[in-house]
Symmetry: C2
Subunit: 144 residues, 2 copies
DNA sequence: GGAGATTACATGCACGTGCACTTAGTGCGC
DNA sequence: GCGCACTAAGTGCACGTGCATGTAATCTCC
């Protein structure tokens, strides 16, 4: 017992590396997007994803939830928050009146356009900064 | 304007892939570890990290926080929860009485030993399942 | 050695999240 | 047409988290 194969060790290492990278970039995004544009990382992700849809055929809540790493219920509330900020609007779907379309407002598109450079810059800066091999002893602070 | 270089597109794609992977594996861990062993993914991560220290030289809270993707304050509370479950104990450091050593109890080591196979299995299953190229339109459900 | 700055950990508070459930609407079988 | 299973989205609740702050101990410099 207590034998842990190198393959497993490697798997764990890979996993920790993945989490560390994600956390590092995420925290950086959270910080910069909030400071400069008053948006959380999640909110940006939703707006950015939303912008990829044709305005004529906006996504429904479900559809949107499938492309963003949060639950449908969390998304529902976030849409509420974004709506009070006039960044998105809800439109109910006439063919299926349970459905709700989510559309970017002009203001939302503008805020997104402003925030995008920041987002891309952080990504460029943090995503390339790989700590590929530095092992488990003291890799990167992970949390600032 | 509205020009987004392929390089940037690629960066964003890479980022979303990273988040999607992390979220997928994390959720799977959360589910299995809780169902089978009553541990959250974060808790397991802390216990597992803790186990890598020599019992004679346990880490302090700070030290531990540096190796786990949560804040020191969050860790402080988690240690409290783990302590009430008798999985870890706090020992105050005599040389610097501000410091607090965190040590695995026997029960903690046992629970960890039980949970480890589950953890490694989920990693093996989910981490290899790469969705490397499938693009933004409908990659992986991300959230179940 | 005493004051003030600094560090280590804990905690009050507000907030976003997930789970379970509710409400509203659709479609199917009869 | 009616009841019933099913789906879409929203909500009550509890909980874990981060930020800012509090408390205690240590260090520094005079």
């Amino acid at each position: 017992m207590e034998t842990e194969s190198l393959l497993e060790r490697n798997l764990v290492e890979q996993w920790r590396e993945l989490v560390a990278r994600k956390t590092r970039v995420w925290n950086a995004l959270e910080l910069e997007l909030d400071r400069q544009h008053g948006l959380s990382a999640s909110e940006f992700e939703v707006l950015d994803t939303l912008s990829e849809y044709d305005c004529a055929e906006p996504p429904r809540v479900q559809e949107l939830a499938a492309h963003v790493p949060i639950t449908q219920s969390a998304l529902s509330r976030m849409i509420g928050r974004l709506e009070t900020q006039n960044l998105v609007t809800r439109t109910l779907c006439s063919s299926d009146r349970r459905g709700v379309f989510v559309v970017l407002t002009d203001e939302g598109m503008q805020r997104l356009a402003e925030a995008r450079p920041t987002h891309r810059a952080v990504l460029a800066a943090e995503l390339t900064a790989t700590a590929t091999e530095s092992s488990a002893q003291a890799p990167t602070p992970v949390v600032l």
